[in-house]
Amino acid sequence: MTASQRATTLVDLDDALARYQPVMGLEVHIELNTASKMFCGCSTIFGADPNTQVCPVCLGLPGSLPVVNSTAVESAIRIGLALNCQIAAWCRFARKNYFYPDMPKNFQTSQYDEPIAYDGWTEVEVPTAEGVETFRIEIERAHMEEDTGKSLHVGGATGRIHGADHSLVDYNRAGIPLIEIVTKTIEVPGDKAAAVARAYVSHLRDLIGGLGVSDVRMDQGSLRCDVNLSLKPLGSDELGTRSETKNVNSFRSVERAATYEIRRHAAILDAGEKVVQETRHFHESDGSTSSGREKSDADDYRYFPEPDLAPIAPSRDW
C-alpha cells in the first residue's frame, strides 16, 4: 500500500464546511515564453536533449555572471498591469539561498522584499447554482525569478526521490524566466472555495495567455499552482495552520486538491490534533495528498540583494 493509499481520515465536505471556514493562498508560477533564459542567452525551447541548452551562466560555473533579459522584465510588467498591480519604480533581485542539486548556484536569483509588481486584484467568475458569481481576488505580489533544472530520479518505485537509486539532472530548464504571482488570503464562502481556486488559475491562464507572454500550459509546466490552505472555525478570526500542496498539474486538480485538504484538515482539527505545517504532494490518481520530503532547514533562505545585478527602474512612461 503506498502512502497515498493508506487510509487518511477525511470528513465529509459539507460537514467540514458547516463548521470550518477555508482560507486559501494561491501561488502561481508562470514560465515566460521568451526566446532566451532569464539571465543568459540560452534557448528556452521545450523538449531538447538534456543539457544541450546550457552555458556557464545557467550551469553556475565558477566565474559566471547573470545579465537580465529585458523582455522578461517587460513581460513581468505586463502581467503586473493586467493584474492591476502597482509597478515598482525601483526594485532589485535577491538571492534565495538553499542547497539542491537542480539549482546550479545553490541560490535562486529571485526577488524578496522588492517585487516588481504588488497590490493588485483580479476578478474571477465561477459558475454556481445561482448563475455566474464574481469574486475579487486580491494580489499580494508578482515577481521575477529563474527556474531550476529538472531532476529525474531513477530506480525507485514511484519515480520520486523516495527509494530512488540515483538522480539525473537536466539543466535545460535552469534559468528559464518565471513570474511568481501570490494572492493575498482568499476567504470566500466555503462551498465555493475549491471552485474559486480553480477558476482563479483558469482565469490567469486566459488573462496571461492573452498577453502572449507565456504558453500557460499546466500540462507542460508553463503554468504551475501551489495551493496553500488552512481552516478556521466558522466565526473565528484566528487563522489555522496551513499546508502547501504542490504537483497540482491541471485546473481540475486545483479544485480536487483544495477539496481534499479541507476534508483532511477538518478531520485533524475534529480529533483535537494540530495540522502539521508542511509541503504536500498531490496525487492525480486518487485526488489525495501526501506528506512531502521533510525540509527542515528550508525556511531560512538568507535573502540578500543580488550584488551582480543592477536595480530595475522602469520609467513610468515605458
Binding site: L61, P62, G63, N97, P101, P104, N106, F304, P307, D308
Partner: protein
C-alpha cells in the same frame, strides 16, 4: 639574455616593435626563469609553456608580416588562478577545484589574448582570495623573493612574487580588500585596483561580488597603465561593469606631473603602523611636496569601522558565492566515510569539508550566520549602511583634495606562520586598503623604499571613482622621484635569487 627578464614591459614592447628580440625568445627566457627559480618561490600553480610559446610564435609571424599589433603584443603575462582560462586548469588556490579545466575564458583572459600577450601560467593565491599572505593556498605558500622565509602578501602573492622575481614582466591579479595592493607593497612591485566596474568580473571566480576587481601587477607604473588599458572597459556579460570609456591612464602615467596636485593624508589610517613604514611614507610625501603637490590632512571618521563592515559583507557574499561548490557538476567529489548510498546532501557536505581550507570554512560560517534570519539587520544590513558612510567620507574628502595617500600596509613582509593563529591580526593587514573596495574607488600601490629590515614598503594612492588616471599621474611622478633618489629601481636592490638545479 638575462637582461630580457629584468626589463619593464614598456621597454620590451619597444624592443619587440624594433625587432630587436622576438616574442618567442622573450617568452622562452621567462619560461626558463620560471624553471630556474619557481621551485623555491612557488609563484605558479600551473605553467603553460606550450600555450605561451604558441601565442608568441603567432605574434612573431604576424609582426613579420607587417600587421599592426597592440603595444603589448608578445609581452608575456601571468594570470592569478582565480581567473578562468579556457583549457588551462583553474583552481582559485583551492583543492575543491583541483583539476578543473574551465570551458570558457574570462573576459580579462579574452582581452589579453586579443591583444596578443602570451599567458605564461596561473599564479598562486590564498584560497578563493581569502587571505593576506598566500599561506591559505590549498597548494602551499608562495615565498617572497626579498626573503624566502617571509610571505609575499595576499591573496595575490603569486602574481606579485612572479613579477618581483622576474618570472613575468606583467601579471593580472584581483583585489577585494587589498589583494593586489598589499602584495605589491610586500614585494616592491606596483599593483592597481581599478574603479569597481572598470574591469569585467565575468570569469573571475567570485569572492565578494560587490568588492572584487581585477587589475595590473607590474614593476612600473607605466607598465600597469598599459596593462590596465588592455583589460579594462565595458563588458555586456558583467552587469556591474561601467559603460564609459576607460580613463586615460597611459597618458596620465606619461604626464607624471603633480604641480598643484592636492594630496589628502587620511588621519584615520596609519596609527600603530610599523615605524619605518610610516617614515618611508612621510619621505615620499615630502618628495611630492617638493615637486609642487600640496599636502592636506583630511578626516574620514567612518574608516575606523571599515574593517568590521568588510568582514561582515565579504563573508556574507562569499557564503553565497561558494555555495556552488557542491560536487554535483564539477570539482572535488568525496563520499562520506562509512555511509552506504549517500544522499546528494551528504556528498555535498563531505566534499566541501574535504575541499575547503580552514579560512574558507571560517568565512562561510561567519557569512551564513550574518545573513541568517533575525541577524540580517544587525550584521549585513548594518555593514552596508556603514559602507554608505565610508563612500560619503570619500566624497567629502575628494571635495577638498584630488587624491588620497596612505602607507599601503601596516607592516613589511612578516615571517611564515606569524599571523596564522590569529585571524584578526591577519585581517588587520588590510586596514588601509579595504576602504577603497567598500566605496568602489580605485587605488594604486607603488614601492616607496625599504624599511630598516631591508624589506619593501608601499605607498598607496586613492582617487574618486572613474578617476583612475589620477593614480597613474601621481604614482608615476613619485616613482620617478624615488628612482632618481635610489639611482635605479627598487627591485635592483633585491637579493639575487639562486637558480634551483
Amino acid at each position: 639574455m638575462t637582461d630580457l627578464i629584468r626589463a619593464t614591459a614598456s621597454e620590451l614592447s619597444r624592443r619587440l616593435t624594433a625587432r630587436e628580440v622576438s616574442s618567442v625568445e622573450l617568452t622562452q627566457a621567462h619560461v626558463d626563469r620560471i624553471a630556474s627559480v619557481d621551485g623555491e618561490i612557488h609563484a605558479f600553480l600551473h605553467v603553460d609553456a606550450e600555450g605561451a610559446l604558441a601565442t608568441a610564435r603567432d605574434i612573431d609571424t604576424r609582426r613579420a608580416a607587417g600587421e599592426e599589433l597592440h603595444p603589448l603584443a608578445g609581452v608575456p603575462v601571468a594570470v592569478k588562478d582565480v581567473i578562468t582560462t579556457k583549457g588551462v586548469p583553474t583552481t582559485a588556490g583551492s583543492r575543491i577545484l583541483e583539476g578543473w579545466v574551465p570551458p570558457y575564458d574570462a573576459t580579462v583572459t579574452q582581452r589579453l589574448k586579443a591583444a596578443g600577450l602570451p599567458i605564461l601560467g596561473k599564479t598562486n593565491m590564498d584560497e578563493f582570495a581569502m587571505g593576506s599572505s598566500t599561506e591559505h593556498s590549498g597548494y602551499g605558500p608562495t615565498r617572497n623573493p626579498w626573503d624566502t622565509g617571509r610571505i609575499p602578501g595576499g591573496s595575490g602573492g603569486g602574481s606579485a612574487a612572479a613579477v618581483a622575481a622576474f618570472e613575468a614582466p606583467l601579471a593580472v591579479g584581483t583585489d577585494t580588500g587589498g589583494s593586489i595592493r598589499q602584495p605589491g607593497a610586500m614585494t616592491g612591485t606596483v599593483g592597481v585596483k581599478p574603479t569597481y566596474g572598470g574591469v569585467s568580473r565575468y570569469g573571475l571566480i567570485a569572492l565578494a561580488s560587490s568588492l572584487d576587481q581585477a587589475g595590473p601587477v607590474t614593476r612600473s607604473v607605466l607598465d600597469a597603465a598599459l596593462l590596465h588599458e588592455v583589460i579594462a572597459g565595458h563588458d555586456p556579460c558583467d552587469s556591474t561593469s561601467i559603460d564609459q570609456p576607460v580613463p586615460p591612464v597611459v597618458e596620465a602615467a606619461l604626464r607624471a606631473d603633480v604641480d598643484g596636485l592636492r594630496i589628502g593624508v587620511v588621519r584615520e589610517i596609519g596609527e600603530g603602523f610599523q615605524p619605518d613604514v610610516s617614515t618611508r611614507f612621510d619621505e615620499s610625501l615630502a618628495l611630492l611636496e617638493g615637486a609642487g603637490a600640496e599636502i592636506v590632512e583630511v578626516s574620514c571618521p567612518s574608516f575606523v569601522h571599515a574593517l568590521a563592515a568588510y568582514y561582515l559583507i565579504l563573508p556574507s557574499e562569499a557564503s553565497s558565492n561558494l555555495a556552488k561548490f557542491d560536487a554535483m557538476r564539477y570539482g572535488l567529489r568525496v563520499a562520506p566515510n562509512g555511509v552506504d548510498d549517500p544522499s546528494a546532501e551528504q556528498v555535498m557536505a563531505a566534499s566541501r569539508d574535504a575541499g575547503f581550507g580552514d579560512e574558507v570554512k571560517r568565512r562561510i560560517i561567519l557569512g551564513t550566520y550574518a545573513l541568517s534570519s533575525g541577524y540580517y539587520d544587525a550584521y549585513y544590513g548594518s555593514a552596508q549602511k556603514v559602507r554608505t558612510l565610508i563612500a560619503q567620507d570619500f566624497e567629502a574628502a575628494f571635495e577638498q583634495v584630488d587624491v588620497l595617500a596612505s602607507p599601503t600596509s601596516p607592516t613589511t613582509a612578516f615571517p611564515f606562520g606569524d599571523k596564522l593563529d590569529d585571524p584578526l591580526s591577519m585581517y588587520a593587514q588590510d586596514v588601509a586598503t579595504i576602504p577603497a573596495n567598500l566605496a568602489g574607488v580605485p587605488g594604486l600601490s607603488l614601492p616607496s623604499g625599504l624599511a630598516s629590515d631591508g624589506l619593501p614598503t608601499g605607498f598607496q594612492l586613492l582617487a574618486p571613482a572613474t578617476a583612475d588616471d589620477r593614480l597613474y599621474n601621481a604614482g608615476s611622478a613619485l616613482e620617478r622621484l624615488l628612482e632618481e633618489q635610489w639611482g635605479g629601481t627598487i627591485l635592483a636592490q633585491a637579493p639575487e635569487l639562486e637558480a634551483v638545479r
